[in-house]
Each structure stands twice: as C-alpha cells, then as structure tokens.
C-alpha cells in the first residue's frame, strides 16, 4: 500500500522505494506520538505528506517533476498551517494534530474522498476541513471545494 501510494504520487519507481522507507522510519521514530487508531490512514497520510514534500522540494530545485498539474499545485501551495507549525516547532508529526491542508487537498481532490471521508481521515469536522481547503484554495486557483 505504501509503495503503491508513493509510486502513484511520484511516478518514479526508485523514488517510491526511497520514500516508502522514509514513511516507515518516520512512523517508527514518532511511535510515542502516533495515533494508532487507524494504521492504514497513518501510512497513507504519511506517504502523502512525504511525497508532497518531495515534489515541492524537486520543484524548488528546478528539477523535472512528473506529476499532474493539480498535484504539483497542491504540493507547492503555501500552507499557513505548515508554516506556522514549522516555525514554532510545534509540529506533532503523526499525532492527533490536524493534517496539513495540502494532505487534505490530495485526499479530497486527488483521491476523491468526500469532505466527510476526508474529515474522518484527518480527525477534523467537515466544516473544519472545508475551511482549511478553502484557505488553500485561494492559493491553488484550480481547486473547487465541493
């Protein structure tokens, strides 16, 4: 599942293998803070988040990215929540803290989850997810929160 998820988002076999290892390492390293209620969600969302970071990083370096424009836009979108967490070092990776808006955007716009499913996936209310996605929407013009 993790490898397939990475391959789906990165479109590169070697990178998918590499990221898959990162996913397991991150999860292991943060075990004490994990919300283990749904291990599949944890793996899926972690893989999504790391892949988005990888895509954004490659883009910033000016490297070719073989991703859809939608995914690329989401990956490169400024996420105020991300920035805040990073600057204040309050990020509680994999904890019950809300997922980043970018991850939610991928779940909703790329994976096709409904708002309800996305909300359940990230442990937020539907209105909370909608609000977060609308915040991101302003930066990614092609998105339409349904």
């Amino acid at each position: 599942m993790v490898y397939r998820r990475c391959l789906q988002l990165l479109q590169d076999d070697a990178e998918a293998s590499d990221l898959m290892q990162d996913v397991f390492l991150r999860i292991y390293s943060a075990t004490e803070r994990l919300d283990l209620e749904s291990p599949s969600s944890l793996l899926w969302n972690t893989a999504t988040r790391l892949c988005l970071n990888r895509i954004r990083d490659k883009r910033r370096r000016g490297l070719d990215v073989d991703s859809s424009s939608l995914l690329l836009n989401i990956a490169c979108a400024e996420d105020e929540c991300d920035d805040y967490e990073t600057k204040s070092k309050l990020a509680k990776f994999f904890s019950k803290e809300p997922e980043s808006s970018r991850t939610m955007a991928v779940l909703h716009f790329v994976d096709g989850m409904t708002l309800e499913e996305t909300a359940r996936e990230v442990g937020l209310s539907v209105s909370g997810v909608r609000k977060r996605l609308r915040g991101l929407q302003a930066k990614v013009k092609t998105l339409e929160v349904k």
């Binding site: 075990t31 291990p39 790391l50 970071n53 954004r56 370096r61 990020a91």
Partner: protein, 281 residues
C-alpha cells in the same frame, strides 16, 4: 466504483466492520471488483519480493537518528536531509529491532487478508497428542520440559522466552533471530500477577496458530516461575517471519481469528511480541 484508497483499506482490513462486510460481499459477487482485489494482492506479493523487508530493515539500520527532524517534519526534504546529516548516527540496535518489528506488523497486516486465517483450535497447551498438525506446522512433544526452572519473575512485566532445539541442546533466541523451516521452537512465559493470558503466533502467510489458550479464549495464569508450554512448535515453510504474541489482561478475553488487530489495540491488554525471521525467505 470503489476508490483505490478504500480498496487499500479493505486489503489491510482497516475499514469499519460494516464496510468490510459490504466489500467482502462485493468481492464474492462482483467479478470486476474481485479482479481488482486479486490484482492488488498479487501486486503486494510482487512488491514484497522486490523489496523484501530484510533489505528495508538493513537500510533502516544505517539511517541516522531522525527523531529531532520530525519536529520540523513539514519542511522541505532538502532541509530535512540537511538536518539529518548533521545528526550523528545513533540508530541503536534496539531501535532497529523495533523498526523491523513495525515493518513486520505492517507486512503481517498485508498478508492477513491474503489467506484465510487458520486457528489451531482447542486447548493448545493441554493437547496431549504427540504430534499435531497445525496449518502445515507441527506441534511436537519434545524434551524441553527439563528447561523448567524455579526462576522467579523480576520486575512487574509479563515475560516470554523463545528457545530453539539444536543438535547439542537448546538455545535461547533473541528477537529477530533467524530460524529455518523445521526448527523446533519452545515457548516459555511468566506473569507477575494473576491474570488471563493467550499465546499465539502469526506467520508470513498470515496464518494464526494458538499455542496457549482455551480455544480462542485466554486462560487464567498464576504468577511465579517461568512456565514452558508442554509442546514445542515445529516451524513450517511459511515465508518471511513467525511472530509470537503473548497477550495478558486482568480480565477475560479472546482473540478473533479474523481480527487479531482488534485484540492488540485494546487498552486493557498487554502484548509482548517476539519475531523470528525466516532464513532464505
């Protein structure tokens, strides 16, 4: 159309019961859906062949400690890599073992749904047959009983020991030690206080075998010395690993053969895991 993400959850058995049942029914009745499920299962096998956990575990052992980096997990990978490079390698053997255990657990989940779970029913600990076929493995009566000792429990935690019979005697195995098909494994346990306990194992084929219990129900355990199970367990040809679980609780409990995870997640149980790697698998 069932979306991919839901199909993945179905494969790992990590959907609400209602949805699991609905998709199971769909798999039985819908040829197209059944075909998608089959393809993914085959893909799982291919991925595990291509990227065996041993390789991954080996690479993890070489990776520097990254816990500090996790605090800034949302920064771009370049920054993460730069931070990681500054941190001296502190990836201890214990952490490596735990990481591998995690991978085992994930692989186990993937395998669990690939084959029907088999439970060796009955009171395994009380079975008096000399040799009992269990899911291709054998429970054999061997001379491990002499390893019974008057060792008292130290500390407050339940303990499980895993021993292997060799040509010259018996040796105690450590977590993640390598074993082979045909090896005879002896399990020992001790508990610090009166409680209920169940001992079972899961192999790389997702087959569940009960070693101690009243069927799928936990039996009452009394505190004191280490206890050896009356029978050794002969490993079959299942690939990848054999993972043993010693589960204890102050209350009665049982394991559901199709939902081991449910038991392991319960807050009122304590779980001791012990994983053996299968050589050459």
């Amino acid at each position: 159309m069932i979306p991919d993400w839901k199909l993945e959850r179905f494969l790992t058995g990590d959907l609400p019961d209602e949805e699991m049942n609905m998709l199971r029914e769909l798999e039985a009745t819908d040829v197209v859906f059944a075909s998608r499920v089959k393809m993914l299962r085959e893909d799982n096998k291919a991925i595990l062949n291509k990227l065996p956990f041993e390789t991954l575990a080996g690479k993890l052992a070489d990776v520097p400690e990254t816990a500090d980096v996790l605090e800034t997990a949302n920064v771009a990978n370049s920054a993460e890599h730069a931070n990681a490079a500054r941190i001296a390698p502190r990836f201890t053997l214990m952490k490596f073992a735990a990481a591998a255990m995690l991978i085992f657990a994930v692989a186990l989940i993937a395998f669990m749904v690939q084959r029907e779970t088999v439970v060796a029913g009955g009171n395994a600990a009380g079975n008096s047959d000399d040799v009992a076929a269990v899911n291709g493995s054998q429970i054999t009566q061997v001379a491990f009983a002499e390893t019974q000792s008057d060792t008292r429990i130290k500390g407050l935690d339940a303990r499980m020991e895993v021993w292997k019979k060799t040509d010259t005697g018996i040796v105690q195995l450590q977590d993640l030690d390598e074993v082979r098909e045909g090896d005879e494994i002896q399990l020992r346990y001790a508990v610090p206080e009166k409680c209920f306990g169940l001992l079972f194992s899961m192999d790389g084929n997702g087959a569940l075998t009960l070693h101690m219990g009243d069927g799928v129900k936990a039996i009452e355990l009394t505190p004191g010395k280490m206890n050896s199970l009356p029978f050794a367990y002969k490993l079959d040809d299942a690939p990848y690993f054999e993972k043993f679980f010693f589960v204890t609780s102050p209350r009665e409990f049982a394991v559901e053969e199709n939902d081991v995870d449910k038991l392991l997640k319960r807050s009122d149980v304590k779980v001791i895991g012990f994983t053996l790697k299968k050589a050459g698998k």
